[in-house]
């Protein structure tokens, strides 16, 4: 995997931000450990998703038309990646997609199509559409090129920090953790990998415990909207998680909310729910991680300020 991630890095690094890795005085004090934050909320488009999408498009330079389905960060990353690579494509959204997400996407001059009432239906339809049009389907996570793109975060971290004990990564579909853990493990580092999820949508965690991908799991709404939802049957990220993840940790909604507010107040940075999940998990289990060097991937910052304002 190391070679693949290096090759992804070579392709995409001129177009992405090498986001800062900062030591958090606040979290270090709170957890009696050294906490480093990889600030992907400062990435172009406000989340790490640009990395994977760019690598996927750059890995298919013979094609000119790309298709995805997403309401959130992946759609933004995909749209920006199309713009940067001068390619054409379409994003499928469910008919009830939020207005502010649609507005954000419109900035990028990407074609938007609406279908269905929920993400699963939208995705199925979009895939079929891609097949018909002989376009490249760009999965949010179930794709080696996407995973290698996200894995470049691992390289940037180890470029700055020689060794660290633990890394905390939010898991939805599992693309981010597969890439980052893949980088760490293929470099033979002893760092432990902690996969973090909201209690309300812990599909990967349950799947790994059961030994197979759970389908039709009934989840609850979560502030970690960017990580919410089930995993595709036969997703390669399931196998990577089985192979790489040392343990799963879960965060409650109230903890996610309080973490977002605490980061505003003490770290002076705006993070989204999915980024708060691994921080909350670290805080929850601080006894286990004290006096260690802990790295947290702050995966995104796309949150509606109005929502945050209501909490104050």
């Amino acid at each position: 995997m190391k070679e693949n991630i290096l090759s992804a890095y070579q392709k995409i690094s001129p177009f992405i931000v090498n986001t800062p890795l900062i030591k958090s005085a606040y979290l270090s004090r709170l957890t009696n450990s050294d906490v480093y934050l990889k600030l992907e909320n400062l990435q172009t488009t406000g989340s790490f998703k640009l990395r994977g999408a760019l690598n996927k498009i750059f890995s298919n330079t013979n094609n000119n038309y790309f298709v995805t389905a997403s309401t959130g960060n992946h759609a933004l990353g995909f749209a920006k990646a199309l713009q940067l690579s001068n390619k054409k494509g379409v994003v499928f959204l469910p008919e009830n997609a939020k207005k502010n997400k649609i507005e954000q996407l419109k900035q990028y001059n990407v074609e938007l199509k609406f279908y269905g009432k929920d993400c699963v239906n939208t995705e199925l339809f979009a895939k079929k559409y891609a097949l018909e049009k002989e376009a490249v389907w760009v999965s949010p996570y179930n794709d080696e090129s996407i995973i290698y793109g996200q894995g470049t975060i691992g390289k940037e971290i180890t470029d700055c920090l020689n060794s660290f004990d633990n890394i905390f990564v939010c898991v939805g579909g599992g693309g981010l953790i597969s890439g980052v853990a893949g980088w760490i493990k293929s470099n033979h580092l002893s760092t432990k990998i902690f996969a973090c999820q909201p209690f309300n949508s812990p599909e990967m965690s349950i799947s790994i415990k059961k030994g197979k991908i759970v389908e039709n799991y009934i989840n609850s709404p979560t502030l970690s909207d960017a990580s919410a939802g089930g995993i595709e049957t036969n997703s390669i990220t399931f196998d990577y998680c089985k192979l790489f993840v040392d343990d799963f940790l879960l965060a409650k909604e109230e903890e996610i909310k309080q973490t977002i507010l605490a980061m505003l107040k003490h770290q002076k940075t705006l993070i989204e729910g999915a980024a708060a999940v691994p921080i909350a998990c670290l805080i929850n289990n601080k006894e286990q991680f004290k006096n260690k060097k802990n790295v947290v991937i702050v995966c995104g910052g796309n949150i509606d300020i109005k929502l945050v304002k209501e909490w104050m």
């Binding site: 931000v17 005085a25 400062l42 770290q267 705006l270 300020i305 304002k309």
Partner: protein, 314 residues
């Protein structure tokens, strides 16, 4: 220190305070660069200890005192960031601090000062009452009063933010900082004069335009009745700061309240960092004058991130 700090003074201040402050990161954003039509670098003093650049000046002022005076402790009157900065700088150096705060100061600010182990004395909120209470502390306890901005030690300490910035980003054409009392802008002007080639600009709210008026007329305005959301800039320009600003600053830009709010929101949303209204003044000043700086490299001193989260203006 009675004369304008030299290059050597600035270097000494920088190394004196280094163990007690953070070297803050410089951030940039492609979408901000597109909007501004130039390369913009944010010197993030909102990530500084206690959340503002004031930590630099306060620490230098405190550590510049002779040992026999340090033993007796320090005092200041402030409702804002300087109170916290003195309290924390004193705590880190095991010095006693007594902070005079107006009775209407937000509870969170008072709690923060108490949290740093300082003693708090409350008084009425008028300038006169604050000065009287501080004088009483000086007489009773023998503490040294630290001025929040009109002090060459404070200015020399604040200058370290711009020195760091100029080391972190090579070839800056422009550096811009907000101006209230003038401690940050004068420090930035000196740091840039000695260690860089950039032109220095100030930015001020239209509704608190004493520095602008003083700068344009050459005569220091000592009274104003400001009403601006930029709470850190409601103070009046100090004469020591003015001495530096009038010679070393290229121009001061004025911005409206709405421009401040829009700039603050823009930075929150695009940069994902929390800045206070006073910092947004500098962002707004640069944005408003972006045509002047097309394709240039500009540094903004983001002065702090201490926002009243319960009263956001957007």
């Amino acid at each position: 220190m009675d004369v304008i700090p030299t290059k050597k003074d600035l270097l000494e201040a920088q190394s004196r305070i280094a163990p007690f402050i953070h070297q803050t990161p410089v951030l940039s954003s492609k979408s901000i660069n597109e909007i501004f039509g130039m390369e913009v670098y944010f010197k993030c003093e909102n990530f500084q200890k206690m959340g503002a650049f004031k930590m630099r000046g306060a620490t230098n002022a405190l550590l510049s005192l002779p040992a026999h005076e340090l033993k007796k402790g320090v005092t200041t009157h402030s409702s804002g960031n300087f109170a916290q900065a003195v309290a924390l700088a004193a705590k880190l150096n095991n010095i006693k601090a007594i902070i005079v705060m107006p009775e209407n100061a937000p509870k969170v600010k008072k709690d923060a000062v108490l949290g740093y182990g300082a003693k708090v004395i409350t008084c009425e909120s008028t300038q006169e009452a604050r000065e009287r209470a501080t004088a009483k502390v000086v007489l009773e306890y023998g503490c040294t009063m630290l001025h929040p901005y009109n002090s060459f030690e404070v200015i020399a300490g604040n200058a370290s933010a711009s020195i760091e910035l100029l080391n972190q980003v090579k070839g800056l054409d422009v550096v811009i900082a907000p101006v209230g009392g003038g401690g940050l802008l004068s420090g930035t002007a000196l740091g840039t004069k000695y260690f860089g080639k950039a032109q220095v600009f100030g930015a001020e709210p239209e509704n608190a335009n004493d520095a602008y008026t003083s700068f344009k007329t050459g005569n220091l305005i000592t009274k104003q009745t400001p009403s601006t959301i930029a709470d850190g800039l409601r103070t009046t320009l100090g004469d020591k700061c003015f001495k530096i600003i009038k010679n070393e600053v290229k121009d001061i830009f004025l911005v409206s309240e709405q421009e401040i709010i829009d700039a603050m929101k823009l930075v929150w949303e695009r940069m994902k960092i929390i800045i206070e209204p006073s910092s947004a003044v500098a962002v707004a000043g640069l944005l408003k004058n972006k045509e002047k700086f097309k394709n240039k490299k500009a540094g903004i001193i983001i002065s702090g991130g201490n926002v009243d989260l319960k009263n956001l203006p957007f």
